[in-house]
C-alpha cells in the first residue's frame, strides 16, 4: 500500500514543476525549434498522450484495465469529424454520402453537429454519459478484473465493426477526411496548424494538472486504496463502485478530448484508429512509461506514438514484433514501466540485497487472495 504522505508533499511540488517544464517545452520551445511536419506529428502524439493520461488514472491508479479506450476516443473524434465535415461541405450534403446515392438526405444524427457549440458539448458529454452508464452497470454489479477488461475491449471491437459497416452514414472503413476548416480557421494555413497543435498541447497540460490534483487529493488516496484492497475500502464504509466510476468517467472524457483533437491534426479518422488494435496501442504506451506515475503514461504514449508513425510505416513487420515484445518484456520485468527505473536503481545502490516489491504487485497479490 502506498503510504499516506504529509500534504503538500515535496513530490507533489516536484510534479507541478515537472508539468511546468513540460509545458514550456511543448508550448514555447517546440513551435520554434521544430518544422511544420514535426509539429503536426508532435500534435498527434499529444492526442494519444491525453488519452494515455486518462488510462493512467483508470488503470495505474484505479486498477481498471481499460482495453477499449478507442470507444471514447471515437466518440470525441467522430463528433469533431462530423462537425468539420459539415463545415467543409457547407449547405450541401457531405461528398461521400452523395457518392452512393446522389439524393441521399443527411442522416438525422448528423444534423445537430452543424452547430459548433453542440459539437463541443457532445465531445464532453457523450463520453461522460456512455462511460457513466457502462461503468455504473458494471461496477455496481462488481464486474472487475479480466471481465471488465475484455468487455471494454469487446465494446471497441463492436463499435469499430459498426462504423465499418455503416459506410453511408459514417464513411465506413475509409473514414472521414478532407477537412478544410476548423471552427472557421483554414486548416491548410501553417499558422493555424501551429494553433491547433498548441490547443492539443495545452489540453495535455490541463489533463496532467487535473490528474496531478487527483493524485494528491483524498479521492486519489481512495482510488489507490480501492485498487489495492477493494474489500477493505468497502468495509470502511465507502462504495468502491462510485470511486471507480469517477475515475473511469474522467478517463473516458480524456480519451474523447484526445480523439477530438486528433481529427484536425491528422486530418482523417477511420475505424482502424479506434478498434481493438488502436486501443491496445494506447495501453502499450501507458505500460511502457509507467502506469501509476504522473508523467509515465504521457511520455510512454508519445514514445509508442513515435514508433508507430515512424517505424510502423517504414518497417511495419518489425514494428509489430517490437510492440509485442514491448508488452512481454515491460510487463514481465518492469511492471511499473520506465518511470520505476530510477527508484529501482536507487534501491539497488542503497541496499543491494533487498529488492522492493512494487506496490502494484503487492496490490494484485492481495486481489488474488481475496
Amino acid at each position: 500500500m502506498t503510504k499516506l504522505k504529509p500534504w503538500p508533499s515535496l513530490r507533489g511540488i516536484a510534479g507541478l514543476g515537472g508539468i511546468a517544464v513540460f509545458a514550456v517545452l511543448l508550448l514555447a520551445v517546440a513551435p520554434v525549434v521544430l518544422s511544420d511536419h514535426w509539429i503536426n506529428n508532435l500534435g498527434k502524439y499529444c492526442c494519444w498522450a491525453i488519452a494515455a493520461v486518462g488510462i493512467g488514472l483508470a488503470w495505474g491508479r484505479g486498477g481498471m484495465l481499460v482495453m477499449g479506450q478507442g470507444v471514447f476516443f471515437a466518440l470525441g473524434a467522430y463528433a469533431m469529424a462530423m462537425h468539420l465535415t459539415l463545415e467543409t461541405a457547407g449547405d450541401r450534403v457531405p461528398g461521400f454520402m452523395v457518392l452512393y446515392d446522389p439524393l441521399a438526405p443527411l442522416p438525422v444524427f448528423w444534423e445537430p453537429f452543424r452547430s459548433a457549440g453542440f459539437t463541443l458539448l457532445a465531445i464532453v458529454l457523450l463520453p461522460v454519459i456512455v462511460a457513466g452508464i457502462l461503468g455504473y452497470a458494471l461496477f455496481k454489479r462488481r464486474v472487475k478484473g479480466a471481465y471488465f477488461a475484455i468487455l471494454t475491449q469487446a465494446l471497441a471491437v463492436a463499435l469499430a465493426t459498426l462504423i465499418s459497416s455503416t459506410i453511408r452514414e459514417t464513411g465506413g472503413d475509409t473514414g472521414l477526411s478532407d477537412f478544410k476548416f476548423f471552427f472557421g480557421f483554414v486548416l491548410n494555413d501553417p499558422a493555424n496548424k501551429v494553433m491547433v497543435y498548441s490547443i492539443a498541447a495545452a489540453l495535455l497540460i490541463v489533463c496532467l494538472l487535473a490528474v496531478w490534483q487527483f493524485y494528491r487529493s483524498r479521492f486519489g488516496e481512495l482510488l489507490v486504496a480501492t485498487r489495492d484492497a477493494e474489500e477493505r475500502v468497502r468495509f470502511l464504509g465507502y462504495d468502491p463502485a462510485n470511486v471507480k466510476l469517477v475515475a473511469f468517467v474522467v478517463s473516458a472524457l480524456m480519451a474523447s478530448i484526445g480523439g477530438a483533437m486528433f481529427v484536425p491534426i491528422v486530418g482523417i479518422i477511420t475505424p482502424a484508429e479506434i478498434g481493438a488494435a488502436a486501443s491496445i496501442l494506447m495501453i502499450a504506451g501507458v505500460a511502457f512509461g509507467g502506469r501509476a506515475s504522473l508523467f509515465g503514461p504521457a511520455l510512454g504514449a508519445m514514445a509508442v506514438g513515435w514508433g508507430q508513425s515512424s517505424l510502423g510505416s517504414t518497417w511495419p513487420d518489425g514494428w509489430t514484433y517490437i510492440l509485442g515484445l514491448l508488452f512481454v518484456v515491460v510487463i514481465l520485468l518492469l511492471p511499473n514501466g520506465l518511470s520505476s527505473l530510477p527508484a529501482r536503481f536507487a534501491a539497488i545502490r542503497r541496499r543491494p540485497a533487498e529488492q522492493p516489491t512494487p506496490a502494484i504487485v503487492v496490490a494484485e497479490l492481495e486481489e488474488v487472495r481475496s
Binding site: A146, I150, T161, E231, I283, T320, L323, F327, V328
Partner: protein
C-alpha cells in the same frame, strides 16, 4: 418457422465452434484466473496445422482426421511453452498476464503473416463433408453437423477426463481450493501446466474445425477470442455446463441477429445482450461456490 430453422441450425454450429474455442479458455481461467489472449492464436495454429497436414497427406478425406490430434498436440505444446516461459512468473498478477499474452498474440499473428501467404491458405474440405442433410426442408451443410459432433465429442471426452481420471480429480480440487489441494499433496504447478496444455490443445482442435468453415489466415484468431471470452463470462467459470449453454445461446443469438440485421450489427447486439445478462447474473450462469468475497 421456416426462417427460424436455418438460423437455429447455423447458430448451433456457430455455437459449437465458439464452445470449442471457449472450453480451453474457461478451463485455464477457472483454474488459474489467467486470461490467455493468445488463445485465439492457438486456434489459428490449429487451422494452419490442418493446412500443413494436407501438404503431407494429400487426400483431404484422410488429412482432416489426422489433423485433429496433430493440431491438439501442436497447439498444446505452444500453450505449454507459453506457460513455462512466461505465464509461470505471472500467477500473482492475473490482469498483467492478459496484457503479456496480448503481446504474445501480436507476435504470433505477425509470424503467421510472414510464414504463410498474407491472403491466407486454402484448406480443402474432405469429400465426406460435401453433402447436405435435409432438416425439415432446409438443406443443412454436413460441415456444420461435423462441428457440432466434434464439439460434443470434445466435451464428452473432457468431462469424462475431469470426472474419472486422477488428473481430472486433481484439476477439480485445484479449482475448488488451491491451498487445500496443495496441502493434500497435489502438485498444483504440474496441474497448471497440464491444464494449459489441454486448454490450448482444444483451441487447436477448434482451429481445424474453423478452417473447414471460414478462411485460414493470420487474423482468424482475433475474430474468435472476444466472442469466446464473452461465452466464458456469460457461462460462469469452473463448470462445463455453463459454458455449453452460453456458447449455444450466443451462437444462436448471433445467427438470428445476423439474419434480422447485418453481421456486424449482430455482434453489437450480442455484446449488449451479454452486458445485460451480467447485470442479472454477474457470476455467469453457473459458478463454483466459494467463500471468497466479491
Amino acid at each position: 418457422m421456416d426462417a427460424l430453422i436455418p438460423q437455429l441450425l447455423n447458430g448451433s454450429a456457430q455455437g459449437a465452434l465458439l464452445l470449442l474455442a471457449a472450453l480451453g479458455l474457461s478451463l485455464t481461467f477457472g483454474q488459474m484466473g489467467v486470461i490467455n489472449m493468445a488463445h485465439g492464436e492457438f486456434l489459428m495454429i490449429g487451422a494452419f496445422n490442418a493446412y500443413l497436414v494436407q501438404q503431407v497427406i494429400t487426400s483431404s478425406d484422410l488429412s482432416i482426421p489426422v489433423a485433429l490430434p496433430v493440431a491438439f498436440v501442436v497447439a498444446g505444446l505452444f500453450g505449454l511453452l507459453l506457460e513455462v516461459t512466461i505465464i509461470r512468473w505471472m500467477y500473482r498478477r492475473p490482469l498483467d498476464t492478459l496484457l503479456v499474452t496480448v503481446g504474445v498474440s501480436l507476435i504470433l499473428q505477425q509470424a503467421a503473416l510472414q510464414i504463410f501467404p498474407s491472403q491466407g491458405v486454402p484448406v480443402e474440405k474432405p469429400s465426406w463433408l460435401d453433402g447436405q442433410l435435409n432438416v425439415l426442408g432446409y438443406e443443412w451443410p454436413l460441415r456444420q453437423l461435423f462441428t457440432i459432433v466434434l464439439a460434443a465429442v470434445c466435451v464428452a471426452a473432457l468431462s469424462a477426463w475431469l470426472k474419472y481420471t486422477a488428473f481430472g480429480r486433481r484439476i477439480r480440487a485445484t479449482v475448488h481450493n488451491r491451498d487445500l489441494a496443495e496441502t493434500s499433496g497435489i502438485s498444483t504447478r504440474t496441474i497448471d501446466r497440464l491444464t494449459f496444455f489441454v486448454g490450448s490443445g482444444l483451441a487447436g482442435v477448434a482451429g481445424v474445425a474453423a478452417s473447414l468453415i471460414g478462411g485460414t489466415n493470420s487474423q482468424m484468431g482475433a475474430q474468435y477470442i472476444i466472442p469466446a471470452f464473452l461465452v466464458v463470462a456469460a457461462g460462469g467459470i469452473g463448470q462445463l455446463k455453463g459454458t455449453i449453454i452460453a456458447a449455444w445461446a450466443v451462437g444462436v443469438a448471433l445467427s438470428c441477429f445476423a439474419y434480422w440485421t447485418t453481421g456486424s450489427f449482430a455482434q453489437v447486439l450480442a455484446f449488449i445482450l451479454v452486458i445485460v445478462f451480467l447485470q442479472v447474473r454477474p457470476q455467469g450462469l453457473f459458478t463454483v461456490r466459494t467463500r471468497s468475497l466479491a
